[in-house]
């Protein structure tokens, strides 16, 4: 459990730096956690949609070409991380202020 003790200590340190040095309010912390949950939720949606789309693509290619394409190609941790990144980027983009219309 040593790595997790280290994570607890660095989290405490980061909290103290944020509050004491950077002037952040502890009351804002739950809002930050909620934004993390929002990004993860969006990532989860991308993951499920990607899984369904890739599965359909594999089965479709099998049917169309008569060749074998394995569903195990979907079993890849990098693909999961990229899906979560998609969700994160999507969330940040949505939170950005809308472009002003000059006309």
């Amino acid at each position: 459990m040593t790595p997790y003790l280290a994570i607890a200590l660095t989290s405490l340190l980061a909290y103290l730096v944020a509050v004491k040095r950077l002037g952040r309010r502890p009351a804002d912390l739950p809002r930050a956690l909620a934004r993390v949950a929002d990004s993860l939720g969006a990532g989860l949606i991308f993951t499920v949609v990607n899984l369904a789309a890739a599965g359909a693509l594999v089965l479709g290619l099998r049917a169309l070409t008569g060749r074998f394409f394995t569903l195990y190609s979907l079993d890849d941790v990098v693909w999961l991380v990229v899906s979560l990144l998609q969700g994160w980027i999507w969330r940040l983009w949505r939170e950005a202020p809308p472009r002003l219309n000059s006309s």
């Binding site: 997790y4 909620a34 993390v36 949950a37 929002d38 990004s39 993860l40 939720g41 969006a42 990532g43 989860l44 949606i45 074998f68 394995t70 569903l71 079993d75």
Partner: protein, 199 residues
């Protein structure tokens, strides 16, 4: 709000998976207990094929080793070594390993049996029936056993499960997440086989 709830659920699943015995409990619902006894044939399912250098993958080697042990224990007169249909024959490499371990050539049936578990059981089933085999000692990974055994049962074989021993109660968070991943993946595969009408 729904997106946030999904995020909280994902976080909860991650932490429950990493720091509680949840993965072991889920795996236990999926796994089939071993029931080893005399049979007409020992059937070792394909697992990962061969590597670039022609050596068996780790999964394939472990499954083959269990099959060889069962044969040496005198539980069946026939050792069926399956393999995926692809370049670099897994079944041939397995037969070579079994021969090296003292299994006589006439007791080995090496079959390149298809790309998927469904194709594999269809191919093996025909070959086994032709030899009068009714009762099989089935060797595969614990997570894969339920799906594979049900396919053989649908093909009207009596199945004695002999899962490859695995760490089904890990204590390290990373190992727990891997077990959770394996369990969820096999759960999806079972669902797919049900929907496809294979089971």
């Amino acid at each position: 709000m729904i997106v946030r709830a999904l995020g909280v659920a994902a976080l909860a699943l991650f932490f429950l998976g990493a720091f509680t015995p949840l993965p072991a409990h889920l795996y236990a619902t999926l796994a089939v207990p071993a029931r080893v006894g005399p049979a007409d044939a020992i059937v070792v399912l394909a697992g990962g094929g061969v590597l670039g250098d022609g050596q068996l993958s780790d999964t394939s080697r472990r499954r083959t080793a269990v099959g060889i042990d069962l044969y040496r224990d005198g539980l069946a007169p026939l050792l069926v070594l399956s393999g995926a249909t692809r370049p670099g024959s897994e079944s041939t490499a397995r037969a070579t390993l079994a021969g090296t371990c003292g299994v006589p050539g006439e007791a080995i049936l090496a079959v390149a049996a298809g790309h998927t578990t469904h194709e594999e059981v269809a191919t093996l089933g025909a070959r086994l029936r032709a030899r009068g085999v009714r009762r099989v000692l089935l060797v595969t990974d614990g997570s894969h056993m339920r799906r594979a055994a049900r396919l053989f049962e649908v093909a009207r074989f009596e199945v004695l499960p002999a899962p490859v021993p695995a760490d089904d109660d890990p204590t390290q968070p990373g190992e727990r997440i891997l077990l959770l991943h394996e369990t969820l993946r096999e759960g999806l595969a079972l669902l797919y086989y049900e929907v496809a009408g294979y089971l």
